[in-house]
């Protein structure tokens, strides 16, 4: 397990400095090629990225606020109690409920989840939480509209069920 963690840290260190520079060099090169081949396509990519960033800005600020508050009030002991080894069935329940109820794209939540992981959030609950991002209550009417109510009900139940399987398997695979 320590070896795995070491490898992850190595990757994270690598991506932290020069890795990011190389990544950006790749992004800029791809866009340069895109501009030369099809400038409309490249402009559209830039435009949609700008729109996406504007759209997620309030969510980023909200999550930043939650992270500051959780740094202040959420101690590692509390995280371990509700999402750690001693959490039991309540941990699953919280992971499923939060996964369904928390708004925003998953990537905007990564810094908060990273922080909670460092504080003791177990891998199985983290995987279950992320899987349940697929169940969004406000989007159920849209799902019913496009695919029918039977589809919406069956898929929602299956996603919740498979989120637990995903959590159990991720715990076994990562050994965390």
């Amino acid at each position: 397990m320590n070896q795995r963690k070491g490898n992850d840290n190595k990757f994270q260190n690598k991506t932290g400095g020069k890795g990011v520079q190389k990544f950006w060099l790749a992004v800029l090169s791809i866009y340069l090629i895109a501009f030369l081949v099809n400038s409309d396509l490249a402009w559209r990519g830039l435009e949609v990225t700008g729109q996406t960033l504007l759209k997620i800005l309030p969510i980023i600020l909200l999550i930043f606020g939650i992270m500051v508050l959780s740094n202040l009030f959420l101690t590692p002991e509390r995280v371990k109690k509700h999402f750690g080894h001693e959490a039991g069935w309540k941990g699953w329940l919280y992971a499923i409920l939060f996964g369904i109820l928390v708004a925003g794209p998953p990537y905007a939540l990564y810094p908060m989840l990273k922080q909670m992981k460092e504080q003791g959030l177990k891998t199985n609950y983290l995987a279950a939480f992320l899987y349940n991002r697929n169940v969004k209550i406000p989007l159920i009417p849209a799902m019913v509209y496009y695919f029918g109510w039977q589809f919406a009900i069956i898929m929602t139940i299956l996603v919740i069920f498979f989120s637990i399987i995903s959590g159990v398997m991720m715990e076994k695979i990562t050994g965390e």
């Binding site: 990544f23 992004v27 992270m67 500051v68 740094n71 697929n134 799902m143 399987i165 695979i173």
Partner: protein
């Protein structure tokens, strides 16, 4: 932990993430623009192949879940099987190839890679089960 320390700690997490997030968004949105042109023509009419293709396209696509429903609805109207569309909708939200570098950096490479592999497999299983139960 005091307020100032708390703000600095939260800020550091975002400082690490923002450059990669913007880069990944730029790449993902460019890829989306390219992919969308070929969405309708890549399905073959073969149930098994289309399910796999649907799952694959959803894995590389990126955006709000609602967008996947709209595109999925269009696929259905064009005659793509519900099995393939379900796999597409499932992987759209549960598998994120475009976001993999970001997920790996934040939550660990092993976690990110295995989570995406498992979710890809589960998406196909859920599609088969969903359509199977509906057709009972």
């Amino acid at each position: 932990m005091k307020l100032k320390q708390s703000i600095i700690k939260a800020g550091k997490s975002w400082q690490q993430m923002i450059p990669i997030l913007v880069g990944v968004l730029l790449l993902a949105n460019l890829l989306n623009e390219v992919f969308q042109k070929y969405y309708a023509v890549i399905f073959t009419g073969n149930y098994l192949k289309d399910t796999f293709i649907g799952a694959l396209v959803g894995s590389f696509s990126f955006g709000m879940a609602l967008t996947s429903y709209v595109i999925g609805g269009e696929f259905l109207q064009k005659g793509v099987s519900l099995l393939a569309v379900t796999a597409f909708v499932m992987t759209w939200t549960t598998v994120g190839i475009a976001m993999l570098p970001l997920e790996a950096k934040m939550l660990g490479t092993r976690f990110a890679v295995w989570r995406n592999i498992l979710n890809f497999i589960f998406a196909i299983v859920i599609s088969i089960l969903t359509v199977g139960i509906i057709n009972l």
